[in-house]
Amino acid sequence: MNSASRTGLSENMSSIENSIGQNDVDICVTCGQCVSRCFLSQSYPDINPRKIIRKTLLGREQEVIDSEFIWACTLCGRCTTDCPKNISIDVIIRRLRGLAWAQGKAPSRLCEGIKKIKEFGNNIGVDAEEFQETAEWIAEECEEELQEIFEEASNVPFDREGAEILYVPNPREYTSNPNMFQTYLKFFAHVRADWTLSTKVFDITNWPYYVGDQDDAVALVRATVDEARNLGAKMLLTTECGHGFKILRKDAQAWLEESIDIEVLSIVELAYRYFKSGRLRLRKGAIEKTVTYHDPCNVGRKVGIFEEPRELLKFISANFVEMWPNRKYSICCGGGGSVSQNSDMGIKRFEHATGKRDQILRTGADILATSCQNCLTQLGDMQSRYNMPVEIKSVMELIVEAIEP
């Protein structure tokens, strides 16, 4: 990674291409397809993805750097899905954010998080001891349930060398949402997973990625991959996370400029694998309600995981319905790419998400399942804001509910 992102404005778009990813923006033919596909086009009528490229190429990128739009963008990538010239707007937006960040214009909440990441290795400022204590305490809270599965299941493994799986959680699991952590503990117990947590790497998120701070983004990936190697893990298993998973799966090799001999898997993929092999036994139709699935942008559109969660949900739910559009055309929840963490966006993140809201309501589903912590937060907040008659659950929560005792 060069230092251009730290030193200020790029002269032209070519430095944007090189520093964050290859992307030939100058081949844009201004076809304008992205204008229609961006879920922000109506909320921000004076700007759109095509205009961002035009302004940047015309030397007016400062206008874009100073705009709110680049922070309202969720990096969902929908606008350039099927782009006739294969341009990826999320790469460009991240670069523009990197320039804003270098100019001290990044949202303060994100800057605080990054400060904590640099000090503690995670965005909420929890140290290793506190993490271990909290994780053990959360396990204790569901000790009986875990011990019912098997006796030692309530012992949370830390830094266990030679374990097959290194599991990297999202900080929400040991702060605001311990239920999620318990869900994963139960899953690991049921499938008798050979797993461990690390007291060095226990945050799957990558906030520097959000602000285009590539140096620190790479450093986090480096630390995670190295820790998995140190422990001798064969699999780097991520929680139900969007961007953190996508970075490890899709970008890590290129960023580290080396091949990573450790399999990167999301926990939903692992559940699917065990379900297919018979190691995870689920009760068909166990969820006696109508379920629909929201494709997280990072998991779906960017990595291509569409069918695994659907197959699982179709098996365990009495009735599964699709929202439209779905899969690679799925509409973003409106909270990704740092938007739900960025307090500057305030309630705008709900106003921007009315398309998603209407799409959910049209299904008439009782339960909306998804597999990304960011989507879960945003959709949960939307549920209460708009009083949506739908329960928001993670795919793994439903799976654990449907496990055969």
Partner: protein, 369 residues
């Protein structure tokens, strides 16, 4: 209408005592407009031919096309196919093999090809001796369901330019306005499946700009109360006729709008809505019909025929020609490429190209009478 070649049958000579290297026929694979013009010109020069056509009729895509005349001919040239079909059918030195396909091609030492063909109905096989092989397998229309954002096949009201053409050809344009009260509010989306790297079609399909404008004029001629917009990236048309068409369309109120909407959404009132940038702002436009001007993709039979004949395909899947300046010869001797199977083309381009194919055959095989 195109200027037709000489109709003087006296000039047509059945070749009986041909030299060795010119025994047999010129085998033309494909009975579309390119194959037909090639056949007719060969026949005019006394060269025997056989047309192999998979479908049950001649004429290919051109025959599906509607006449675009309004109060005057708009020079779409689609009617040429009927003239050529008649001329070819009445040629004394040709064979037309409908419902037949190629299944083998063997090259002999003398450079001739032995071509195995099969009757698709009876399964009967036959061998033809070919002094030259002309590949004229045409193109495939892009299938817009590949790009789900446009909702083709999902939304009523979204159709392709081919669909619209079928309605015009069958004189069923009235189907577009069932209640006959509401005027048509129709948009054309250009470059659907063209100039698109994401689907391996990073090229212009050449015919669609002019075709969309002609279709717009035709609709306005029939229903003058129609509102029509053409969304384009940039108009890839040239020549005096094309410019006239644009002027004529603008005078009749057709709006030419830069930028092609990338997603169609159903609106609350049952119409179709798109978000577009106009005068620097993102605005919503509504239509009751949207026509996707679908581009030309390589023929689905191109790769099979390429492996049979060893005639190579280019990066796009069209047949490769010998050089940038030789657009009718394949890199292999005695294999010629006619019409749109070497790349997208409109009808006049195909006519010119077929003429060059025939003159190359005559020159290469020393067949001049």
């Amino acid at each position: 209408m195109l200027a037709l070649p000489c109709k003087n049958k006296d000039k047509e000579v059945l070749i009986s005592g041909m030299r060795d290297h010119t025994s047999g026929q010129v085998v033309i694979v494909g009975g579309g407009i390119a194959g037909l013009i090639t056949a007719r010109l060969l026949s005019e020069n006394g060269i025997p031919f056989a047309i192999i056509e998979r479908s049950a009729r001649l004429g290919g895509h051109t025959k599906d096309w509607a006449c675009m005349a309004t109060d005057k001919c708009n020079r779409c040239h689609s009617c040429a196919v009927f003239d050529y079909e008649d001329l070819v059918a009445s040629s004394p030195n040709g064979e037309i093999l409908l419902r037949h396909e190629l299944f083998s091609v063997t090259r002999s030492k003398s450079g001739l090809h032995s071509v195995g063909i099969r009757n698709l109905d009876s399964g009967a096989e036959r061998e033809l001796h070919s002094m030259a092989l002309v590949l004229a397998v045409g193109f495939e229309t892009f299938d817009p369901t590949e790009k789900g954002f446009w909702g083709y096949g999902t939304f009523e009201g979204v159709m392709t330019l081919s669909d619209l053409n079928s309605l015009m050809r069958l004189d069923e344009l009235n189907k577009l306005r069932p209640d006959n009260e509401k005027p048509l509010n129709l948009a054309f989306f250009q470059c659907v499946g063209s100039r698109d790297k994401a689907i391996g079609a990073n090229y212009c399909s050449q015919y669609c700009c002019a075709a969309a404008i002609r279709a717009a004029l035709r609709i306005l001629h029939k229903y003058p109360d129609s509102k029509i917009a053409i969304f384009y990236i940039d108009l890839q048309i040239s020549g005096k006729v094309a410019r006239t068409l644009v002027d004529q369309a603008q005078e009749m109120g057709v709006r030419f709008l830069q930028g092609v909407p990338g997603e169609i959404q159903p609106s609350e009132d049952g119409e179709l809505k798109v978000i577009v940038e106009r005068n620097g702002r993102n605005v919503v436009e509504r239509f009751n019909r949207i026509v996707l001007s679908t581009g030309q993709r390589p023929s689905s039979s191109a790769s099979a025929i390429s492996s049979m004949t060893e005639a190579p395909l280019n990066e796009f899947g069209f047949f490769q020609t010998r050089s940038q300046l030789d657009l009718v010869r394949s890199p292999l001797d005695r294999i010629y490429i006619a019409g749109s199977c070497s790349g997208p083309a409109n009808i006049p381009d195909v006519a010119m190209n077929a003429g060059k194919v025939v003159s190359a055959i005559i020159r290469d095989l020393e067949l001049a009478i």
